[in-house]
Subunit: 498 residues, 2 copies
């Protein structure tokens, strides 16, 4: 199964790349406009901005010539009893030639929170270019990659070239808060997915400077542990000494989640982790992974492990637990002598095959209740699972992996997994049974979810080129596959050379 290389398609690729290089400032400007919208899905006060972001995305996709449908996702119930509308989801279709492969691109246009005072050097919502890097919230996660895909399609349109594949889009606005409702959306729109051949996600980053394809992600179980001592905050001078303080209980609970070697202290949590086979162990030997560079990117002096193999295994195939913060306590600059009345500790466990969310949920609740019981505290404890996303793993021999390897010319992509969570990969796999591929265009040092998130100008533009050539490569392999599988089919669709 070799790619059907014709001079025509090689010429077209050159034209596409020339156009993309010539229009890069325009593509960068589009990204700047998208980043200017603070589409933070975790903040209900910014919900209007998020809804606006989804609308702008829908208009942009419609301008490609696609048929766009905006799907109502209902209301989000907030903890205080209020509710706000979820942003709509976008389902879109461009082309429906049955002889062509159909690729569905998944992306999201919501972002993580970002505030100057967290340590941003530039305004997170005013994209700023420094040293050929484009800094701004959402630059790499996930506005940059979504736009790169749109730019790639746009390039065919601008050159008056037929797009060699049918393209579908599924774009959502609540990925950063757990993609609520999307599973139902997929289930409820099975006809949309029935003619999809391949699903592509570009919502993670590479492992090194080398382009990569991702064939697995960890899942995530995000917990809130709430301790309430009373109905309001109190002055520590007026009440300190006689109160069962909620913060005292909470820090004790949080201190009993993970030890200083990174080992999770929740009984039974490792029981379902799939054992490391000799075959899998060998895979890690071949990965090109610059430990020193990774350490530099992290800004950390010492990792928990010292070898490449241990590091990759603990990022890809073992669970971990991170404590993210506390809501309700004093978090500002300076000093405040408050006894918080209600505090919510937030932590999450990255899940790996074959951990099960209901089992993990039960283990966490039982453990925290048992630790809390030792405190003999009269305070109220509530533990809730806020987000539950399963891990995902793909077959790296699927056709679209081969097409992507061809698209990334002259550079052999790494076959990697990813420690972070893209819930839809697993959901798509379970519900559609299609081949899923993650094709990251962002760099390992892009700082997704961190201060000073960025995407490099070159990765953004190179990513646009990879997507554009991926369409061609996939079309070729798909045609070969159809011819091999079904020699009687008369091929009417031709690549347009120019």
């Amino acid at each position: 199964m070799l790619p059907l290389e014709t001079n025509g398609s090689e010429d077209l690729m050159t034209d596409l790349f020339t156009y993309i290089d010539g229009h890069q400032d325009e593509f960068v400007q589009s990204l700047k406009e998208w980043i200017a919208i603070p589409s933070d899905s975790s903040d209900p006060l910014l919900r209007k901005e998020l809804i606006k972001m989804v609308e702008i995305t829908a208009e942009r996709i419609q301008a490609l010539g696609a048929t766009v449908e905006l799907i109502d996702m209902g209301q989000e119930q907030l903890n205080d009893g209020q509710s706000v509308p979820f942003p709509k989801a976008i389902l879109a279709q461009l082309g429906n030639d049955p002889s062509k492969a159909t690729i569905c691109f998944y992306g999201h246009v919501d972002v993580q929170p970002a505030k100057m005072e967290d340590g941003w050097i530039t305004d997170p919502y005013n994209m700023t270019e420094r040293n050929e890097n484009l800094y701004g919230r959402g630059a790499t996660d996930n506005k940059g990659p979504v736009l790169a895909w749109i730019n790639a399609v746009d390039t065919y349109k601008a050159l008056n070239q037929e797009i060699p594949v049918n393209i579908k889009f599924i774009i959502e606005g609540v990925e950063e808060t757990g993609s609520q409702g999307l599973e139902d959306l997929i289930k409820g729109n099975s006809s949309f997915f029935s003619d999809v051949d391949y699903i592509v996600i570009s919502d993670n980053v590479r492992l090194s400077r080398k382009p990569a394809l991702t064939y697995g992600t960890r899942g995530d179980a995000y917990f809130f542990v709430e301790v309430q001592s009373g109905t309001k905050d109190l002055h520590s001078g007026t009440f300190g000494g006689i109160i069962h303080e909620s913060m005292r209980d909470l820090v004790y609970l949080l201190a009993n989640l993970v030890d200083s070697s990174g080992h999770i202290l929740i009984p039974g949590i490792y029981d379902d982790v799939s054992p490391l086979t000799e075959e899998e162990r060998k895979l890690y030997d071949d990965i090109d992974f610059d430990l020193e560079e990774h350490q530099n990117n992290s800004g950390v002096n010492t990792f928990l492990y010292s070898t490449k193999e241990e590091i990759l295994q603990h990022l890809w195939r073992y669970p971990c637990l991170s404590i993210h913060g506390i809501e309700g306590a004093f978090s500002g600059y300076g000093s405040k002598t408050v006894i918080p009345g209600k505090v919510i500790g937030k932590f999450s466990i990255r899940l790996v095959p074959d951990m099960k969310i209901p089992v993990v949920n039960k283990q966490v609740i039982n453990h925290l209740k048992s630790v809390f019981a030792k405190l003999k505290s009269p305070n109220k404890l509530v533990v809730t699972l806020q987000i539950g996303a399963l891990p995902w793993i793909a077959n790296v021999n699927d056709l679209q992996y081969e097409a992507a390897r061809n698209a990334i010319r002259k550079v052999t992509p790494e076959m990697i997994r990813d420690g972070s969570t893209i819930p839809l990969a697993r959901i798509f796999q379970d519900l559609t049974k299609k081949s899923i591929m993650m094709l990251p265009i962002g760099g390992a040092d892009d700082g997704e979810h961190s201060q000073n998130e960025k995407i490099s100008r070159s990765n953004y533009i190179q990513g646009t080129k990879i997507f554009a050539s991926f369409f061609l490569e996939l079309a070729k392999l798909h045609k070969d596959l159809q011819m091999n599988n079904d020699p009687l089919t008369i091929k009417t669709s031709q690549q347009n050379g120019s």
Copy 2:
């Protein structure tokens, strides 16, 4: 030593009270205007507002006819290496008749932080009256009491009456962050204090519905414990599992400060606490303290202790430790999958006689270093004492206590101590050797430092009356004292009856 009661002074008191009742809406309006200025001393971004607040206060005192001096307090060094100007301090004098007593009033016009999202029902900076309570940040701590004192003086002026005492003011703008620089200010202005007879502070609240005089306060040692794992925040998917997370270390440190019975775990911390004598123990029997009401005010179901005596002792004469919060971790609504790079835990220990700040500081640092050593963490630990304020205790037989007891007619004030900290009480006592009295006008349920801080309209107006009549009562007792001590002095100053 009986008060010299004359019909003239009784008539004047009636006139003063009638005027105050008739102008209460005007007094309430003044408080609303002061609360509208967000003079939060902990937030460097609000420093201009704080400086404006001090200027407005200075103008208001000048309008009483006082000579006002604004004292430069230098620059505040921020943790990030920047600096902002401290607000100036106010020294003011109204009257210098050597035959009259001279009272110096201490107060502050800075406030604690306040944000709607902390759970305020009304805008903290837009004073709102509900059920005859005036809600707003600073209503009781300390703008209301400062204005009540000014209103009291103003009432004499409005009625064209001679004020029976000389009045001095010392007003500062950084009480909530530790009154930095004020000790030097007092030392550097000894001539201002040399002719002061009595110092009055009204910066705390009553214990019950009964008016009270406060003769002691706890001190406060406020610590920052900073743990840094790296130079920036990281994504818990991309880096979780290989990082020595700073939050893990911090929650373990914080969990080792105090046990669930309220006992502080820092070795040696109780060594200098003065033993409870039989004489002191008996004092608690007489205090009118409604445990149930105190519990209702607190919004808490269960206290650490069940008897009045234990509760009061643990609020007044034993130290306690409160964990206030964490800076640098995720503190917002919703979920964020961040591994914070640098986190600062904030806690404070209320100090009692005879604890010493350098000793406590050393004990805290040694304890945290020893706990941290057990973690064998490569992270960086820094422990700093941010605020160190000593406890204070007064002689309840001083003349001004008697005058205040007279001023609060028909209601016997409680002789109480206070669990919270007013650093200046102790500093004044040490540096000026004058008689210090705290005369609270706010109620136990006012919620200083909490959401929905308020002062009741009646306490604010009644407080103005108490201050106005206190001037008269003190003048009478002071005159008696002078006549008894120095029979040759010819009294030229008379109370003006009307």
